[in-house]
Symmetry: C2
């Protein structure tokens, strides 16, 4: 599904260059559940944002489903991003002026799903993350962890083949975290979704099949998880 | 330092009432380090926001340093908030158009500290959280964990007597988390700061002296920590 070869990303800040990625080569296969770990500033979000076509590498190549993503037009890249990839951002990125339910429905708008089906799928997912009773509330009326769960529901609603989740459980208590990760695990096992999950929590990383460790913009370890 | 009696907070949302706090009575003494824990939506941030004079209870009373906070004028409450309390918010709340250094300096502006001293104290704290080399970068140029550490530095810069930290390590790797918490522990032990820290992480909660568990808007447990 994902094939990167020598991805590099440099940020130029005045006289300084920050080498966020330094030649990352990685293959992720369909239906895999990969945990991405590493210290703060080691390049995890930068890498995953490139996988999600939200950003472009400075150098290197990236193929998604066998297609070189850099050869797509910006419009085609936006279509890929909106219809085939689900995101859970580190900062949630919910639309503040729309309700929880409407936030979850949003990806289905881009996929031109009919209104009735949009509503049914979004409602079912809000129930799955334990927030059916808060569907008509705005993000400002929800706790941090509740907002995070809305973001997770939104990432799943258009049944993407690739889910990119950046610290999806950072604001959740252990029990809710495990419930959410079990949802992701089930989606990977039973529906063949490919999941790339950034997490600092060892307990959460154990649910994955494979752990990739970043350090200073490079991959330092790539190992299977013994049991989950 | 903190004395609450039967604090309640209700949010009215159309026909629904959310009882975020249901009669919270708690005393926190000077130089104490208290970890506040509990499930998502259990009322932790609501409670801590009231302690920080960022919000008002629906019912109940709150005394800070022996003074009933509800008898203060809004201006006096703002002075208390800006000069005596340091915050680390769940969503960081950094000013996007100011640099890391200027974000950390901000509380010293309100306290009318001279420019040279502001700069010296902010610079020292950025070094303490490992970000001296990023002082002139904007929040958008920093990773999630880096932004969180800026927020922590800002909370500490005016040497507040009360620090309220809402998930200050949610986006940090274990090693950086422990370094940050050890800074807070040292401030509590050596400089008498009172610390109230919301966290879902058991490993982090063990650094506190006392753990208060919230459930459905009430305190369900209040116990000392055996060792740290
Ligand atoms: N501004 C608001 N308007 C309406 N309801 C709110 C508001 N803020 C919080 N709530 C609700 O009050 C309850 C308690 O929220 P609070 O933010 O205190 O929870 P929390 O314990 O901090 O949760 P988390 O661990 O998810 O951050 C939740 O049900 C939440 O949705
Ligand atoms: N937009 C940007 N402009 C400039 N520098 C950036 C930008 N985004 C990230 N960086 C820098 O690139 C490096 C890698 O950042 P990245 O966000 O990938 O780290 P991370 O591993 O996700 O960290 P964290 O665990 O703190 O979220 C960091 O030094 C960061 O400051
Ligand atoms: Mg990140
Ligand atoms: Mg909260």
């Amino acid at each position: 599904v994902v094939r990167t070869r020598s991805l590099s990303k440099d940020y130029h800040l005045g006289d300084t260059v920050v080498h966020a990625l330094r030649g990352v080569t990685l293959d992720i296969h369909g239906a895999e559940f990969v945990a991405v770990m590493g210290a703060s500033g080691s390049g995890k979000s930068t890498f995953v944002n490139i996988l999600g076509c939200l950003d472009r590498p400075t150098r290197g190549s990236y193929e998604l489903d066998g297609q070189d993503v850099s050869e797509l037009t910006p419009n085609d890249r936006a279509v890929v991003r909106k219809t085939r990839i689900g995101f859970v951002f580190q900062g949630f990125n919910l639309l503040q002026r729309t309700t929880a339910l409407e936030n979850v429905e949003m990806p289905l708008h881009y996929a031109r799903v009919p209104a009735k089906e949009r509503r049914a799928r979004a409602t079912a997912l809000l129930a799955a993350v334990g927030l059916a009773d808060r569907a008509h509330h705005f993000p400002s009326q929800l706790s941090g962890g509740q907002q995070q769960r809305i973001a997770i529901a939104r990432a799943l609603v258009n049944k993407p083949t690739l889910i990119l989740a950046d610290e999806p459980t950072g604001n959740l208590d252990s029990r809710t975290s495990v419930e959410i990760i079990e949802i992701l695990q089930r989606l990977s096992d039973e529906e063949g979704m490919t999941i790339v999950l950034i997490t600092h929590e060892e307990d959460i990383a154990r649910f994955a099949q494979r752990q990739v460790l970043f350090r200073d913009g490079r991959i330092k370890a790539d190992r299977p998880v013994d049991r989950r």
